[in-house]
Amino acid sequence: MENTRLLEMRGIEKYFPGVKALQKVDFSLNSGEIHALMGENGAGKSTLIKVLTGVYGKDAGVIRLDGKEVQIHSPQDAQRLGISTVYQEITLCPNLTVAENMYIGRGNGAITNWKKMNESADRILKRMDIPARATQQLASCSIAVQQMVAIARAVDMECKVLILDEPTSSLDEQEVEKLFGLMRDLKELGVGIIFVTHFLDQVYEVCDKITVLRDGQLVGEYEIKDLPRVKLVAKMLGKEMDDLSDIKGETESYSGEDADEEVFEASKLVSNAGIKPFDFHIRKGEVNGFTGLLGSGRSECVRAIFGADRVLGGKVKMHGKPVKIKGPKQAMKNGIAYLPEDRKIDGIVGDLSVRENIILALQVMKGFFKPFTKAQAYAFADEYIKKLNIKTASADTPVKSLSGGNQQKVILARWLLMHPEYLILDEPTRGIDVGTKIDIQKLVLELASEGMSITFISSETDEMLRTCSRLVVMRDRKVVGELSGDDLTQSMIMSTIAGGE
């Protein structure tokens, strides 16, 4: 089959309030091609897909299908043009039957012929070897089967372009193999497939080409044979292999007599957030970190440590003594503090003042019926506003009127006020300006030199290298390595993340 240019997206731009989600992104797809779209979370993959499927309107750019310019305003438009999508999260209706989910929203007939629909659905299910019956209610199928049904729907629509947006995250190996077989069949038929996934192995197994996005911009389009794994990871992270910008801080490390004491130890810790059991420990005055691509499970690990997700198993010791941490409150009682990744959701209470936000955690620990006096609260707030250099009009200003960086500092102040022994910072520097970033990095090292143990997570590897003395590397929700000392380099991190080869 001759491979012709099927889809062409040129100069696609998309803005959300305050964010440029896509900037001048180009993407093209040939018929009979499996094309991987790679990038970290937030790189713009999903946005690009949603523009292509009409879920979002684009702010600029052209989409051409078979050489003709098309306007896609809704998922219906996309379907009509032969673009089918299977999303990561199941986008089917759980209350309808399997057959209905395969056929609803398609075709022109106003009347449903149940018998015909069930028969053809059963035929497709059988052909694709999907263990479901047409008349079964979708909710009674396992998630993997539901995903397969979504794929069956897309396949049956005789689409020209099939988009698979992380379809494999809920499938087991056999099911993934089945899916790959199907993808190859479709490829033979001349369908162009866009494959989005976090799993590098899978990309190298089925894809022909890779397009990499980063921060809403196009990094480049590559033939799979021209781009070894390590280079792919480097492209995704935006770092060159030989970029060895390892600048250890000038701050002294902690040197008390108890410097070797393990403050926190966990063995076989596992939570309900889908991570594999992991071991972890941190010494007094140590700064370590979890690294890996976004979605590799690093946040889930620290959430398990803090008890923010439901802990399903594993043993936890503090200072060598076994403790039980079932939830955030117990973690806090044990001297663990956690600054969550998404401050908008988990962190700040926007309408409360800076002062109230700062004393919040301490107040929780003290109990709500024993409030602090106003004077105490102001003293605490002023102390930390000064210490962290929080730029606010006064301690009474509502937090939501502060800049992102300063909001982050307020949350940091909240946890520092608790004088934790062990502080977990999950992406404390995301979305804040460079000056504040360096402030926070310095603060981390300072606190460590005073004896606090800190786990630091950041998407920016050089930031991690600058602050951490030991890095736990994660891939696909599993700990795959630990780096310290001379191994702490960009290239080692990348090759550990990439694995394989």
Partner: protein, 347 residues
């Protein structure tokens, strides 16, 4: 194939909609049977059931509309107000406009209902306003308008209308003998026929048309429905239009039953309709429900009212309390069965 072998037990093969429907019908039959056995008398005559139907035809029709809106994930609490407005508007037209024609009065009823449905549906679907709020406003507006149309309640004198109102349809073979051993044929009002025809039509619409299935899809998961290529806004809009249209028809059926216009008519009818729909197996969260179930929901609700009344507890509060208890019991059974089903599937 082995993995998905049906371990789910009794309920796993049945969809939620069919499951709740079976529960409703079973409970209704048990209830009516116990009424026949323990209270005897009137309940043994088919005419009792026909009377229940005749006096509640309007409720059946509004409950059908509410089922459709609720299956689509919405709610409409304006229907009682619309019914009152229809009775008053039609009454004023028939008695105060010279040369009034009953066919035109029917058009007025349908027109009022459609107007409410269209405006409310438009606000809900295209402006993303909560259906509860929109139809709450609709309810106040309808009740207010009723009083503006005419302040005092009055009986309609129009000849043609009185004739239509008194028309009864005889059900052959269902009659019974009274204590003087005189045969009395079983009769129903025209409204019942209208209601039953609508039950059949809407059942077919919901089961077999693209629009009908879209209601379920949108109620099941709005986002998914959109991704599956369903026009979610239009579907929501149409659910309200149909509900409004049915409220208009119900208004006329109610009007035929009572023969008067009044701002106090159909007070709280929307709540009875919601209750009936829920008893009939519609989930307030959307996506699950059955039109025939709704019919049985109304019948269950009205039967229990009659049972309470014939047990000598005719006061309004007793009916209220029994309806409350019944709703609780139904919802409890529904949630237990659905939970059992989910648990069985998880194994």
């Amino acid at each position: 194939m082995d993995k998905s072998k049906m371990k789910g037990g009794l309920f796993s093969k049945v969809s939620d909609t069919n499951l709740l429907f079976s529960i409703t019908v079973t409970i209704f039959i048990l209830m009516y049977a116990s009424a026949v056995i323990f209270q005897g008398g009137g309940f043994r005559k088919p005419q009792t059931l026909f009377n229940i139907l005749s006096s509640n035809a309007a409720l059946i029709i509004t409950a059908l509309g509410l089922s459709i809106v609720m299956i689509s994930g919405g709610i409409d609490i304006s229907v009682g107000g619309v019914v009152a407005l229809v009775t008053m508007s039609c009454a004023v037209y028939l008695d105060y406009c010279p040369g009034a024609n009953i066919w035109v009065s029917m058009l007025i009823a349908v027109g009022i209902g459609l107007a409410f449905g269209i405006v409310q549906g438009f606000l809900v679907a295209y402006f993303d306003i909560q259906p509860f709020i929109v139809t709450l406003a609709g309810m106040f507006f309808a009740r207010g308008m009723t009083t503006i149309v005419h302040t005092k309640p009055f009986n309609v004198e129009n000849e043609a209308f009185r004739k239509l109102k008194d028309t009864r349809i005889v059900i052959p073979g269902a009659g019974s003998y009274n204590k003087h051993n005189i045969y009395q044929p079983a009769k129903i009002e025209i409204g019942v026929v209208v209601a039953l025809v609508l039950v059949v039509v809407l059942f077919l619409v919901l089961r077999y048309t693209k629009l009908g299935r879209s209601f379920y899809a949108v109620g099941g998961n709005k986002q998914s429905a959109l991704m599956l290529g369903i026009n979610v806004r239009r579907t929501k809009f149409l659910s309200h239009v149909i509900c409004g249209l049915l409220a208009g028809i119900a208004g006329y059926v109610y009007f035929l039953n009572v023969g008067s216009g009044s701002a106090a008519h159909a007070t709280g009818m929307e709540m009875n309709a919601i209750a009936s729909s829920i008893i009939g197996g519609t989930l307030l969260t959307g996506g699950v429900g059955n039109i025939v179930g709704t019919l049985f929901g109304v019948l269950s609700l009205c039967t229990i009212q009659n049972m309470v009344a014939s047990a000598g507890l005719g006061d309004a509060w007793w009916t209220g309390i029994t309806i409350a208890a019944m709703l609780c019991i139904f919802l409890l059974i529904q949630s237990i069965v659905i939970r059992q089903k989910k648990r069985a599937l998880r194994v």
